[in-house]
Symmetry: C2
Subunit: 81 residues, 2 copies
């Protein structure tokens, strides 16, 4: 079983890294870009023996408590069989 | 229009950051995890006036040339209206 966790800055939180990327790509000639925000992406592989409901609960807790900072970041979890 | 770009290490490329995360979460009591790999995630907002086909081509080129390192990374692009 595989889980994908996406961590993004909450709306309203400044993203200087995203702004730097936006500025750079504009200098490189990519126009029409109004905003770039950078986030993090994790692929988590779980042992096949694990019970699906338990694994989903564990990964969701891991995303909330370890992989993201709840003060400034949101997270989203997807599961694949 | 909005584009999402996911950048991941190619299979076979060592991911020390992912290994460090895996080790940490194991110490924190999350078992049954066989692998963790970290990637990058970008949300790119485009001006509404832009032609869709052109924007898709531009974002795909940006993902290939700027946001990812083709030697060690793969990228995936998704578009939302």
């Amino acid at each position: 079983m595989k889980a994908k966790v996406y961590v993004t800055l909450k709306p309203g939180v400044l993203d200087p890294q995203g702004k730097a990327i936006q500025h750079s790509v504009e200098l490189l000639g990519f126009g029409d870009i109004s905003d770039v925000r950078q986030g993090k992406y994790f692929e988590i592989a779980l042992n096949d023996a694990v019970v699906e409901a338990e694994a989903q609960a564990a990964v969701t807790r891991m995303a909330a408590e370890v992989l993201s900072n709840p003060i400034i970041e949101d997270y989203r979890v997807e599961f694949e069989a």
